[in-house]
Every structure is written in structure tokens, then in C-alpha cells.
Symmetry: C2
């Protein structure tokens, strides 16, 4: 760690390739197995104020945005998380404090004092699988032009949140040879900026999208075929999120099917996909290991953080987690899909 | 085995609770681990002639029906399979021969010489997830009144294919205390015969249905909650099939999420659900073990047989399988969802 916020101390008797460490970070003071190399993550995306209605309640101007969810989820695995984004003067001090408490480095956050923060408002239907966007006010996000601070440019791991692919390219242009680039996108950009998106795809390692977006991008209804088509566009690794049906991890050599956590009460699906991305990239950064076996684990950590996210409104489900709770749920995922050979 | 079609010989040095046996049945002459107790399965359902159009081709008057698919799939695990159903004088001799070759006992098959076999005709859409029924001619099936031959009544394992729940009850009324009753149903019966279906549900052990049917029966969009509601109606164990997303196995103690086999080319989805039921019940009958661990394996065997089924038209995908091919695919399923703990 470069910032001294965590102290690593080697302990004897642990498994090969791992060292037992004690990490004295906030909410993380437990003995855990950690790999030797820790790296930070650069996150670029939106920071927003969301107003959300679900059948279970509503919130107004709650903290949201892709960069927010990704950062908070990833912060349980590595820190600091370096955020590049933009907010207005109305972005609440409490939100800043919350992110700083999670060891999110906000030196790359542009604050437009006389501008307003990006606002989104939506209503979820009874089954929570569909939502209506009630309003989208881009505000200061409309002219967002990501500028990567000099000290961020050597960050080895980059997570491009769901923003205009032109901006995603601008970010990559400023980076100094990142080792791992994980990228999210959505139907809006596939429909409107396909050519730019295709340029982005050529420069990333891992793409995360959902099943309908995969079908839209590939023009192929069969998800396995869609995966082949999309991977031929650039990313070596593709993750297709399927909501209540889990996720697929597709590489040249492997298809991995991750289960969904069986949830009876989903309070607010907002941010689930971004929390997935954060948990996924956080685990990869923490372990500095992109082997297929570890990519599978990263998908499970992504699913784990997404499952915590939807249990409460806004980012509340990602507050006050501990590494032990995350591990317990990781193991529940394992139990969920494990079966014995005969 | 009561009919002497298989010879069991114990071999030393095998795992506890299992004995190594050599099963000299057709297509099954390999050394495999088998439990000591083998039991037959009674299957009640439709035998039909299907005319199917898919984007990949079409067939006319091909062998189909729930009892057919269930029997053939289950026949790879136990024999004889005992079928109770009805066909007309036009049911082809080749279909009878095929079933007999698979050691399906047809003594319970009613043949109405001057009647016509149940015919179904359907067309699948491009993405194969939806189909239009073009015609349904019940013919002799309209007056089907299942009569269980005396020699079948002590069969310990019963699989009730997707027929009128009134008929399912009639079957159970004739059985002599079966140990395991597995039941399939569909939206048609949930809509039209819910009261009768609820009576059936009180007398079965395991219900198999798909996700939309589970939502319809429970009036609950969340599948985990739906599972709880449906299990409170009777069946201790519920399986919710989710097509390309795999299947859920739900019990009081456990949620198991089975992956779907990643298929790029599905030729004909007809019979996939019935093949699932056949593989599932066949494995349970073969092992005489309904522990939760073995129920999981049975779900994977069901998924395995369903995956073979959809690779070809009609029952062609279930012809000429071997136990080794089935085992190989079972292990592919394991690879598909397996990940290592950290």
C-alpha cells in the first residue's frame, strides 16, 4: 500500500502463494488471508443524487451514481480507490465524508461550486425487474470531461463506469499503460454510440453488461453466441449479468455460471450492477491475479456485493459491511451451487 | 431388479455405500458405481405425434409426448420403465420398437385400434424461448382414463407427467403406497383446475414446474417466495426450471442453483422439460436416495438429459446415449459452476 492506511504483517504457517495479514483499515480489523500484492483501482463514472420509489418505500436525493457504487463496493477489497467524476456544489458534505471514510481518494473529483449534481429519479414496478425513469437531469455531468490527475495515471487497474464511450476512451488516453481495464456500458450507448463503443472495446480487457445489452450489442439472441461475438470485438473476458438468474463469465477457454443469491426481499435494485463491478474489480485488484480460477471468484465477490447493495436503499446496503460478512456470503454462494460428483 | 434384465455383481474396493456393479443392459455395458438398491419407475403421461417447426428445420408426426420423453430419459438410469398412457392405431410400430428397445415396459399402454393418437403442432420463434401452438388434437387422449395394471401398483417411484390433475389423482388412488411421487404440471392446469391440482399437490413429494408457472401458481413474482408458497401447498421439494438460466431446487433447508448447459445450437426445445423430469426421477430411482445432496445430483442429471434432448429433433437427442456420455456431461455441468474457496 502506498498511503500507509493499511499495515501488512506476515505471519507464518499460511497457504502457499498467500500470506496471512492483519489489515488495520476501518471495518476490516480481522485476520484474513491476503495476497502479497495490493494495488489500487481508478474508477471513472457518475456521482449522482437519486430519488427512488419502490413498492417498499422511497428516498429523495440519496447518494448514487456508478462511480459511487463501484468505489464503495471495491473499497472492501483495496484502498485507496481513486475516483474521477464531477459533482455540483449541492453534493452533500455527508456523502463526501462517507466516501472518505471508505478510503476513497477524491482528489480526482471535480466540484463545480455553482452547478448542480446529476440527478436521476425512477420508480420500480412490483416485481422489481422493471423500472420507469421519471427524470434525468444531467446538470454538471452533461459537460463532464474526465481529467486524470497526474498521480493517478500509473494506476494499474482501471474501472470505467457506465458513461459515454467517448469519455471512456479519453480516460484510457490519459493512463500510463494500465494492466487491467474493466468496463461497463448500457443499451443507451450501444444504441447511440456504437462506433465509439467499439473503439473502447478494443482497448479493454473485461466487459461487463447485462443479458439484454449483450443481445443488443451482438444482435444474437443466444447468450453463448452473443458472448463469442462480443469477445471478438475486443475484450478477452466478458461478464453477462442476468439479474435474478446470476451471471455468466465467458473466456476463450471457459464458461462459468454464477448463481444469484436467493433474495426474498429486494428493497432497491439501484446500483446492483455497479456494486457487482466494484466487488469484481476490487477482488482482482486485491489479488493481482487474473487467472480463470480467480476471475470466477471475482464474479462471486461481485455478486456478493450486489446482493448486499439491494438489501437497502441507496448505498446503505454497502455501509458497515465487514470482510467477515463478505466472506460468509461468498461461502453461501459456494453452497448454493456446489454439488458432489458421484 | 425384478426382471433379470440387469445383472449386478459386487466388486471389492469401492466407496462406502456404493458397490461397483456391471450392468449388462443395452448401451450400458460399462463399469460404473451404482448403489445396491435399484427400483423401477412408473410413468403416466401423454404419448403423441408432434409436428414441429423451428428456425432450423421441421418434422411431421414425430414421436413425442410427456410420457415418451420421461421414459426414454429415465431409461438410461433404471429399467424397466413402466408406462401408462394411450395411443391410437396409428401410433407407429417403429415408435413402439424404439421404446421397447429402451426397456420401456408397455403393458400399461392402452392402444385404441380405431382411434387416432394425440397430435400437437407448434412453431418456435427465432430465439426459441417462445412458441406458438398451431394445433392440438387430443384424439384418444381426450378420454384417457389411466388404469394401472396390477403388476405396476407396487412400483415405489411414480412420475406423473403433465396431465389433468384429476387423472394424476386417479393414478395415485390406484397405487399401493409409493415411496416417491414426482409430479409435473403446467399453466393450463393451474388456470383451469387449480382446486384439483391443489389436491394432487398434497399427495406428492416433488413438484417440477417452470418459473412462469411457479409465479402463476403462487401469485408471487419473487421465485424464492413463490417456492415457499408452493411448498406450503404440499410438496416438500420444489424444482423451478428456468430454461436458459438453469433450475432451482428448493427444500426447507436448502436452495440449490443449477446452471444451464451453455448451448449455442438448440435445434428443438420440445420435450426438454420432460427429459429433465425423466433424468431427475431416473437418478433418484437408481440410487434410492432422496438426501439433499443426491437431489442436487438428480437435478444435474435432469439438466443433462434435457441438454441432450434439445440438440436434435423429437426424441433423436435421447437416442443412442451412453452412460459414459451422460457422465461426461454431468461433469461438464460441475465444471460450469465450480469455483474454489479462497
Amino acid at each position: 500500500m502506498t498511503n500507509g492506511q493499511a499495515t501488512l504483517s506476515k505471519t507464518k504457517g499460511c497457504k502457499s502463494a498467500f500470506v496471512c495479514v492483519v489489515l488495520y483499515a476501518r471495518n476490516l480489523s480481522v485476520n484474513i488471508h491476503l495476497p502479497e500484492k495490493l494495488v489500487s483501482v481508478l474508477v471513472v463514472g457518475s456521482l449522482a443524487l437519486d430519488s427512488i420509489e419502490t413498492p417498499f418505500g422511497s428516498v429523495h436525493d440519496a447518494i448514487g451514481g456508478s462511480a459511487t457504487y463501484i468505489s464503495v463496493a471495491a473499497s472492501y477489497f483495496v484502498n485507496p480507490i481513486r475516483v474521477v467524476g464531477v459533482v455540483g456544489g449541492d453534493f452533500p458534505r455527508s456523502a463526501i465524508t462517507f466516501l472518505e471514510d471508505r478510503k476513497v481518494d477524491l482528489d480526482g473529483l471535480q466540484v463545480i461550486k455553482n452547478g448542480k449534481t446529476f440527478r436521476w429519479s425512477g420508480r420500480y414496478h412490483y416485481d422489481l425487474n422493471e423500472r420507469d425513469t421519471l427524470s434525468t437531469d444531467l446538470n454538471v455531468f452533461e459537460k463532464f470531461d474526465p481529467e486524470i490527475p497526474e498521480k493517478y495515471r500509473k494506476t494499474r487497474c482501471v474501472c470505467l463506469g457506465n458513461i459515454d464511450p467517448v469519455l471512456q476512451l479519453k480516460v484510457l488516453d490519459q493512463m500510463d499503460n494500465p494492466r487491467l481495464v474493466v468496463c461497463d456500458t448500457m443499451n443507451y450507448w450501444i444504441d447511440r454510440k456504437k462506433t465509439d463503443l467499439q473503439k473502447t472495446l478494443k482497448r479493454i480487457n473485461i466487459l461487463i453488461l447485462n443479458d439484454s445489452e449483450a443481445r443488443l450489442l451482438s444482435q444474437e439472441p443466444n447468450l453463448i453466441k452473443a458472448g463469442r461475438v462480443i469477445r471478438s470485438m475486443g475484450p478477452r473476458v466478458l461478464i453477462i449479468k442476468k439479474g435474478e438468474h446470476g451471471a455468466l463469465l465467458l473466456t476463450d477457454q471457459m464458461t462459468f455460471s454464477a448463481p444469484a443469491y436467493p433474495m426474498e426481499n429486494i428493497f432497491d435494485p439501484t446500483g446492483a450492477g455497479d456494486s457487482f463491478a466494484g466487488g469484481f474489480v476490487g477482488w482482482l485488484a486485491r489479488t493481482d491475479d487474473t487467472s480463470e480460477e480467480n476471475l470466477k471468484r471475482a464474479v462471486i465477490y461481485g455478486s456478493t456485493l450486489a446482493s448486499f447493495c439491494v438489501e437497502k436503499f441507496s448505498v446503505d446496503g454497502l455501509k458497515d459491511l465487514t470482510y467477515l460478512r463478505i466472506q460468509d456470503r461468498f461461502r453461501e454462494f459456494r453452497e448454493l451451487s456446489r454439488f458432489e460428483d458421484i
